[in-house]
């Protein structure tokens, strides 16, 4: 059992080797640390914006999505949406928003773990953080489609506004509104985290793979590590 855990954790760096080539082993640790910091910071920044423009709103209406809440003119947008039979925005992705912060903390810890696991399995620990931005977008797309397609047919304006697919990024339109949606800085930080994690893993494997190969040579019984 101990051997299995040992093989999962991968090879430890011998002290004299570490002293000789400190930069080689420090680089992936630092890069993965930076990746984690970016991900954590992203919680405090918007992931996605939408601006709605119509003649009677000269200052526009804004909707801003953070990973865990919606901000901006939610009340007014909900008020308008009731005319076309769209559900209130707080009903969208409510589960995702409720667990988002914990999920990010978990991803943070997993990437942290990845820095200490020197075997190739470390990649698995980093996978959630790397795929998170794409997951966020897919989820956003899912909910917007679900909301746009499932309008209450008994709503006052159901005759003039048919079910539609809102535009997740870029310019769209609904009723007298033009919509402009774009990604926020939080999302870019998450992307940054994903990129840094990948770069970090390049250095991670460059540092530890020779050690792992050497370890495998020493304990062929475990093989494949």
């Amino acid at each position: 059992m101990a051997g299995f855990i040992h093989s999962l954790l991968g090879p430890r760096v011998p002290t004299e080797e570490l002293a000789r080539r400190r930069a080689r082993y420090l680089t992936p640790t630092l890069i993965l640390m930076a990746a984690r910091v970016l991900l954590l910071l992203s919680v405090f920044l918007p992931y996605w914006h939408m601006e709605l423009e119509a003649p009677q709103y000269p200052k526009g209406l804004y909707l801003t999505a953070y990973v865990n809440y919606l901000a901006g003119d939610v009340k007014e947008i909900d008020g308008l949406n009731h005319y076309i039979g769209m559900r209130p925005l707080h009903q969208a992705a409510s589960f995702e928003r409720s667990v988002a912060v914990w999920a990010i903390v978990a991803m943070f810890l997993l990437v942290e773990g990845a820095a200490f696991v020197h075997s190739k399995w470390a990649v698995l620990l980093a996978l959630p953080a790397v795929s998170f931005p794409a997951g966020f977008l897919l989820d956003l797309k899912f909910w917007m489609t679900s909301f746009g397609q499932n309008l209450d047919p008994s709503a006052p304006l159901s005759a003039s506004v048919k079910p539609f697919t809102p535009t997740v990024l870029g310019e769209g339109g609904i009723g007298q509104f033009r919509t402009y949606a774009e990604l926020g800085n939080g999302f870019y930080l998450a992307i940054g985290c994903a990129l840094l994690t990948i770069v970090g893993f390049y250095f991670h494997r460059r540092a530890y793979k020779p050690l792992a190969d050497a370890m495998r040579g020493a304990t062929p019984a475990l093989g494949g590590v």
């Binding site: 007014e76 005319y83 190739k120 990649v123 794409a134 990024l169 310019e171 402009y180």
Partner: protein, 704 residues
């Protein structure tokens, strides 16, 4: 080894795929972001310096010629025209005269922005149409009876250090001796105080430099405290007065318990102005019936108009209000009609009141921006007479009196306190100031605005000699008050001047025998003799008196109420306000409570079922938080109409004394489904009442 590389490569490929997906999204959104970075910036249209091509000049000239406009007209239009969406530089708060309202007008466009209901119920603003026990009606009652109009005269913006601070506006009702407080966060009347001493007033409202007090000077002498005496006892029993209403800025209300009045001789006190700088601590009131004429043309006496104008001199009242405040706080006031009054003998003994002779039946007294000079306009005398505070203080200290009046008030020697007299023309009434050492006085009979120069430290601020008439501009017609931009503060702006012309005669299309007043905008930017009229603006609602012009950016106006459930009468969140989910109709005996919410485009509940004879308390809140998403609420036949501005909570009570089915609806066009924003009040006839158990609870109508 090979296997492991293959594994790694496979995983890397998977990662790259995901990353590629994300990167594509980033790329597309980055392209967008370059066009609209962050929040899309709405570019305010850049105004490039205009250079007219010959073709454009030709087009402009053709329009001008077609409309018979000359170059001065084109310049005037250019100085006043506001392109759509652009805001005025100043806001003019004007008395609305007998309409009992205040008007807010943009300058230089002269566009009416809105009216503010004060002494008269006004249905659009839902002011005074909230059923029985309407707090506004309560506030408008005098001696238990509703007085549903006012004659608004002099607005006064609150000041800090002698500058308009844009927080509050006060205005007096001449007809009924009342003073109102308007909160300039929501532009609504918050308080009306009725003077307990006098029936009518004139010298309201004027503020001390930090708005510690609002001055309400009287006018027609009566027996103070609503007493009676025959006209033969005029001199013995009739009295004038001035009241100092203590203002509590934090509460935005008059502190009536710390307010007091001063008894004055029955000389018909007129306008007032507070000192500032060196004259801070004093205020000044003029008067025009030192003759104490008591009229009686029907008995062969000289009519008031002659009797009141007989003498060459009346009295400028000089009041040391800081000393008066100390005397009041020392308990030296006597109660009349329950209100503390410093009697004349106290004022004489304590040195609170002095007179200076002033020619002849004058009208306004206006303090110069530096507080040094008091300008009294002669009305029946062609001069303005200027007093200086240094001379006044010296004369008081040295007791340089020319005598005492019949009530023992010392009269300062005219020559000792007079700084200058400037002959302007016929019928000088009121004076305002600019930033270049000029004063502007309205000339009623000449129907003109006179520009003249101040002396003292103002000498040399313009190219003209001090204490001289510089120019006159004719106005149409019969100017009363005038108003320069911040022209009665410690730092006037110059720029614009309003002539509040009383008669318009031929200036506008005929409107029947009742004609609008004419607010005329004058350009006072250039020194010297150039002072053109730029614009005529008809005011077809009441006869305004005074106005004040404040820089628009000083106003910190709310766009919506701070929270949903806001009670504007109390300027706080009201715990009684219904909330989403708490709507419904509850009954206790014959008392019914309706809790209603209003949001585009429905009321909840939509059916309210009650019994004939029920007393209904109806609480309604506008759930809106968006600027201009205002609702109205009316019940036809029950004289109820409310304005429900975003966030506003209102409660009203009425007795459902007629059975029937009454539609209620939103009276403000709020949305595309505005017409659908309605419901029914069902008042069941009495016999039917037995069918329903008393004390039962009717279920709330479900939303939608």
């Amino acid at each position: 080894m090979k296997r492991s590389i293959r594994h790694l490569a496979g995983r890397a490929a998977a990662c790259t795929l995901l990353l590629g997906l994300a990167a594509m999204e980033v790329a597309s959104s980055t392209a967008l972001a370059q066009d609209q970075p962050g929040r899309r910036r709405r570019t305010t249209q850049e105004v490039k310096p205009l250079e007219l091509t010959p073709e454009q000049v030709a087009r402009l000239t053709k329009v001008a010629n077609d409309r018979k406009l000359n170059l001065d007209d084109l310049l005037a239009a250019t100085k006043t025209y506001m392109p759509s969406g652009r805001h005025d530089e100043y806001v003019l708060f004007s008395s609305g005269g007998q309409s009992g309202q205040v008007f807010a007008i943009g300058v230089p466009s002269m566009r009416l922005l809105r009216s503010i209901a004060v002494f008269t119920p006004e249905s659009w603003q839902g002011y005074g149409f909230a059923g029985e026990n309407d707090p506004i009606h309560k506030q408008l009652e005098i001696n238990g009876k509703p007085v549903l109009w006012g004659d608004t005269h002099h607005p006064a913006l609150s000041e800090t250090g002698g500058e308009y601070d844009g927080q509050f506006l006060f205005i007096g009702d001449k007809a009924n001796a009342r003073v109102a407080v308007i909160d300039l966060r929501d532009w609504e009347t918050k308080q009306i105080v009725k003077n307990p001493l006098t029936v009518s007033d004139h010298g309201a409202a004027f503020v001390t430099p930090n708005t510690d007090y609002v001055i309400e000077g009287g006018q027609y002498a009566t027996v103070l405290g609503y007493g009676y005496a025959p006209p033969e006892e005029y001199k013995k029993s009739y009295r004038g007065m001035v009241t100092l209403w203590k203002f509590d800025r934090a509460k935005g209300r008059f502190d009536v318990n710390n307010s007091f009045a001063m008894e004055l001789p029955p000389y018909w006190q007129d306008l007032a102005d507070a000192g500032k700088g060196p004259s801070d601590g004093f205020f000044f009131i003029n008067s025009f019936n030192a003759e104490m004429a008591s009229g009686g043309v029907e008995k062969g006496n000289p009519p008031f108009e002659a009797g009141v104008s007989k003498r060459d001199m009346d009295y400028l009242h000089i009041v040391d209000w800081k000393k008066a405040e100390a005397a009041f706080k020392a308990g030296k006031a006597k109660k009349i009609n329950g209100f503390p009054v410093l009697m004349l003998e106290t004022s004489v003994a304590e040195g609170l009141l002095y007179f200076a002779p002033e020619p002849k039946s004058p009208h306004g007294v206006d303090v110069s921006p530096n507080g040094q000079f008091m300008v009294v306009a002669g009305k029946l005398d062609p001069h303005v007479t200027v007093y200086s505070i240094d001379r006044i203080k010296k004369a008081i200290a040295n007791k340089t009196y020319s005598g005492h009046d019949d009530y023992g008030v010392p009269i300062l020697d005219f020559d000792a306190v007079k700084e200058a007299q400037v002959e302007l023309g016929l019928g000088p009434l009121h004076t305002q100031f600019d930033n270049k050492g000029y004063a502007y006085t309205s000339l009623f009979l000449d129907s003109a605005v006179a520009r003249w120069t101040l002396g003292g430290e103002y000498a040399g601020k313009n190219p003209d000699q001090p204490w001289k008439l510089v120019t006159k501009t004719s106005v149409q017609y019969n100017i009363g008050h005038l108003c320069a931009a911040e022209g009665d503060t410690v730092s006037p702006d110059g720029n614009y001047l309003i002539s509040m012309s009383k008669w318009s005669v031929d200036r506008f299309l005929p409107t029947g025998p009742l004609l609008p007043q004419n607010f005329q905008l004058l350009d006072i930017v250039e020194p010297g003799t150039t002072m053109p009229v730029l614009y005529d603006s008809p005011i077809g609602v009441g006869e305004p008196h005074y106005c004040q012009m404040i820089k628009a950016d000083k106003l910190k106006t709310w766009t919506v109420y701070p929270e949903v459930g806001w009670n504007p009468h109390e300027q706080r969140l009201d715990p009684r306000s219904p909330t989403k989910g708490s709507e419904g109709v509850t009954r206790e005996g014959s008392r019914v409570l309706v809790n209603m919410t209003a949001i585009r485009s429905h009321f909840t509940p939509e059916h309210v079922e009650i019994m004939e004879g029920d007393t209904v308390t109806w609480r309604i809140v506008a759930m809106e938080t968006t600027q201009d998403a205002t609702h109205g609420f009316c019940i036809g036949g029950y004289n109820i109409n409310l304005s429900l501005e975003p966030g506003e909570f209102t409660e009203f009570t009425f007795t459902a004394d007629r059975a029937g089915t009454y539609p209620f609806y939103c009276t403000e066009f709020c949305s595309a489904l505005h017409l659908e924003m309605m419901g029914y009040l069902h008042v069941k006839p009495r016999q039917g009442a037995q069918a329903s158990p008393e004390g039962g609870v009717q279920a709330a109508s479900a939303e939608k």
